[in-house]
C-alpha cells in the first residue's frame, strides 16, 4: 500500500481510537471502582452531542458550547447516580443491565421529544474547517487532528488525576476497599457520585467532539457503546491503561479492515480480534486496577 495512504488511514484509526478511549475510560473506571456495568454510558455520549449542538446554535461558539455542555453532562451523570445507580451496587450485573437498558430507552425517547426525530448536524468550529498539509501532497482535516490531540491530552489528565491527586487516591482506595475508605471518614457515597459524573462527562465529551463529524440522532450512542464494551473487554475490565491500548488497537483494526476487506468481513474484524484475545487471555490484556 502507498505509505502516504497508510499514514492517513493510520491517523483515521487513531482518531477513532481516541474517541473510543474517551468512552471506554469512563465505562471501565465506573466498572473498576463501583463494579457497575453501565449500558446507559452511550446515552451520555448522545446527550453530550445534542447539548453541544443546541448550545452552539444559541451561543454561536463551539468552544463556549463545549464549556457549557461538559458540566451539564457531569451534572446529568451525578443525578442518574443519585436517583438510580446508587441502589444497584449490591445487585448483580443482570439488574444493572436491565436498569441501564431502561435508561437508554428513556434518553432515546427524551431527545426525540426535545429535539425532534430528525437528525441534527453541527458546524465545524471556526478556524478548524481547513486541512493541514502533513507532507507535500498529503493533507488531513485539521479538526480530526485536534480530536487526536485532545483525546491524548484527556488521557494524560486522567492519568494525572488518578495517580497524582487526592481525589484519585481516594478513587483507587475505594476500588480496593470500599468499607475501609468509608470507615476512615471519607464520604464514599459522594465520591461515587462524583466519579460517575466524571465518567458521564468523559462520554459527553466524546459525543461533543464527534458532533461535527457525525449526524446527531436518537440512538447514536448505542453503536458506540458496543464498541466501547469491546474495548474494555479486550483491555481488561477496570484497567484504564488497557482501555487506552485496546481502543487504539480497535480503532486501527477497524479502519484498516474497512479499506482492505469486503464489507461483510470488515464489520466483523474487531469482534474477531476480541474473540482471539479472549481465547488467549480471558481476563483481557491488563487485569483490573492497572
Amino acid at each position: 500500500m502507498d505509505p502516504m495512504l497508510l499514514l492517513v488511514q493510520g491517523l483515521n484509526g487513531m482518531q477513532l481510537g481516541v474517541m473510543l478511549f474517551l468512552m471506554a475510560a469512563g465505562l471501565t473506571l465506573v466498572f473498576g471502582v463501583m463494579n457497575l456495568l453501565n449500558l446507559a454510558h452511550g446515552s451520555m455520549y448522545m446527550m453530550g452531542a445534542y447539548l453541544a449542538a443546541s448550545l452552539q446554535q444559541h451561543t454561536g461558539s463551539f468552544l463556549l458550547a463545549l464549556l457549557l455542555a461538559l458540566p451539564a453532562t457531569f451534572l446529568i451523570g451525578m443525578i442518574i447516580e443519585a436517583v438510580a445507580m446508587r441502589r444497584l451496587y449490591d445487585r448483580d450485573h443482570l439488574d444493572q443491565v436491565l436498569v441501564t437498558f431502561a435508561l437508554i430507552l428513556f434518553f432515546n425517547e427524551l431527545v426525540r421529544i426535545i429535539w425532534g426525530p430528525q437528525a441534527h448536524f453541527m458546524a465545524l468550529p471556526d478556524g478548524l474547517t481547513g486541512y493541514v498539509t502533513l507532507f507535500p501532497g498529503v493533507i488531513y482535516p485539521a479538526y480530526r487532528l485536534i480530536i487526536i490531540g485532545a483525546g491524548l491530552l484527556v488521557a494524560l489528565l486522567l492519568y494525572l488525576l488518578i495517580m497524582k491527586t487526592r481525589l484519585g487516591m481516594l478513587i483507587r482506595a475505594g476500588a480496593s476497599h470500599r468499607e475501609m475508605v468509608g470507615a476512615l471518614g471519607v464520604n464514599i457515597k459522594l465520591l461515587y457520585t462524583v466519579l460517575f459524573g466524571i465518567g458521564s462527562a468523559l462520554a459527553g465529551l466524546a459525543g461533543m467532539m464527534a458532533g461535527p463529524i457525525l449526524s446527531i440522532e436518537s440512538g447514536m450512542g448505542d453503536s458506540v457503546l458496543i464498541l466501547a464494551l469491546v474495548v474494555i473487554v479486550i483491555g481488561g475490565l477496570g484497567s484504564i491503561r488497557g482501555a487506552l491500548l485496546a481502543s487504539i488497537m480497535v480503532g486501527v483494526a477497524d479502519t484498516f479492515g474497512r479499506i482492505l476487506l469486503p464489507p461483510a468481513l470488515a464489520s466483523m474484524v474487531i469482534y474477531f480480534l476480541m474473540a482471539a484475545i479472549l481465547y488467549r487471555r480471558p481476563q483481557g490484556l491488563f487485569s483490573a486496577n492497572g
Partner: protein
C-alpha cells in the same frame, strides 16, 4: 403458607391463560389473532432464554442473534425457492445451534460480566454481518413472498391456522422444557448455576453441560425466529439488534425467571403494555423506561413470582 394449599393461584392463572389463548381466534378479529401469534412467538424466545438465564445462570445479552439466524434461514431459503417448512424450520434450528456452539465455546470460557459483553458483541457481529449482505436486503431486510408450506397438511397462510400451529408448538416447547428442567441434566445445570466448583468436584463436566444448555436454548430461539419470519413475512437485521436481546431479557425478568410460565407471562405483559401505551402516545418508551427501572429496583420475582403457588413455603 397454610391456606394457599387449597387454592393455587399459579395453576389457576396458567390454566386461565392457556384457555384464553385457545379461544382468541374464535372472536374472529384478525388484529388480535396476529398480535397474540406474535406474543406466543416471543414467549418461546423468552422461554429459551430463561433456560440459559434462569436455570443455567448464564446472563446472555445476545439471544436475539439466534432469533435472527432462524429467521434469515427461512428468508434466504425462501428466496432460493425452498418453501417447505419441513426443510426450512429444522434447518433454522440447526444453523442457530451451530452458531451457538461456536459462540458458546468461546464465550463460556469467561463468566460474569465478561460473558454478558461477549455474547452481546457476538450478536452485534452477526447484526453487522447481515447488514452488509446486500444480496439479502442489507439493512432494509427482505420481504417474504408467503408463509412456508406444510406439504398440504395445513394451510398456514390463514392467520387462524397459523395461530393454532404456533400455540401447539409453544405447548410442545413448554412440555419439553418442563421435562428437561426436571431431568438429571436439568438438575445438574441448576446445580452448576448455584455452585459450579462443587459440581466440578462431583465430577460433572460443567463446561460441556453449560454449552449443551446454551446450544439447546439457541435451537428453540432459532425455531421462534423461523416462526417470526412466517408471522411478519419480513426478515431484517433489526431482529438481531442487541436491543431485541435486551427486550427478551426484560420479558424473562418481568415475568419471573427460573420458572417456565414466567417468560410467557412476561412476553404477554411487555408486548401488551407496548400495544396499550402506544395507543396513547407515540413516546410510550418514556413511560416504559422508568416503569422497568421501578420493577427491577422494587422487586425481582416478576409477575409469576408474585403469584402464590401451592408449593411455596415462604
Amino acid at each position: 403458607m397454610a391456606d394457599s394449599g387449597y387454592f393455587d393461584l399459579r395453576s389457576a392463572v396458567l390454566l386461565l391463560l392457556l384457555a384464553a389463548l385457545a379461544v382468541i381466534p374464535l372472536f374472529g378479529d384478525i388484529f388480535y389473532t396476529r398480535l397474540f401469534t406474535r406474543i406466543m412467538i416471543y414467549a418461546m424466545a423468552a422461554l429459551s432464554l430463561d433456560l440459559i438465564l434462569g436455570f443455567g445462570g448464564m446472563v446472555s445479552l445476545g439471544h436475539a442473534a439466534f432469533l435472527g439466524v432462524g429467521a434469515y434461514t427461512v428468508g434466504i431459503l425462501s428466496l432460493w425457492g425452498v418453501q417447505s417448512a419441513f426443510l426450512s424450520w429444522p434447518l433454522a434450528m440447526l444453523f442457530s445451534m451451530l452458531i451457538a456452539l461456536v459462540i458458546g465455546a468461546i464465550s463460556l470460557r469467561v463468566s460474569g460480566v465478561s460473558f454478558i459483553m461477549i455474547t452481546l458483541a457476538f450478536a452485534q457481529m452477526l447484526y453487522y454481518c447481515f447488514i452488509s449482505l446486500k444480496g439479502y436486503g442489507g439493512s432494509d431486510g427482505m420481504t417474504l413472498a408467503g408463509r412456508s408450506s406444510l406439504a398440504g397438511l395445513l394451510d398456514i397462510s390463514r392467520h387462524g391456522t397459523f395461530y393454532y400451529l404456533v400455540l401447539c408448538i409453544l405447548l410442545l416447547i413448554l412440555f419439553a422444557a418442563n421435562r428437561l428442567v426436571h431431568s438429571r441434566f436439568g438438575m445438574a445445570i441448576q446445580g452448576i448455576r448455584d455452585n459450579e466448583r462443587r459440581m466440578l468436584s462431583l465430577g460433572f463436566p460443567t463446561f460441556r453441560y453449560k454449552l449443551v444448555c446454551f446450544v439447546f436454548a439457541a435451537g428453540i430461539a432459532g425455531l421462534a425466529g423461523a416462526l417470526m419470519a412466517n408471522q411478519s413475512l419480513y426478515v431484517g437485521p433489526a431482529l438481531m439488534h442487541w436491543k431485541q436481546s435486551a427486550e427478551i431479557l426484560v420479558m424473562v425478568i418481568l415475568g419471573g425467571m427460573r420458572s417456565l410460565a414466567g417468560p410467557i407471562l412476561g412476553a404477554l405483559g411487555l408486548l401488551l403494555a407496548e400495544e396499550i401505551l402506544s395507543n396513547y402516545t407515540e413516546h410510550w418508551m418514556i413511560i416504559l423506561g422508568p416503569f422497568l427501572i421501578i420493577v427491577v429496583l422494587c422487586g425481582r420475582k416478576g409477575i409469576y413470582g408474585m403469584l402464590k403457588g401451592a408449593n411455596d413455603h415462604d
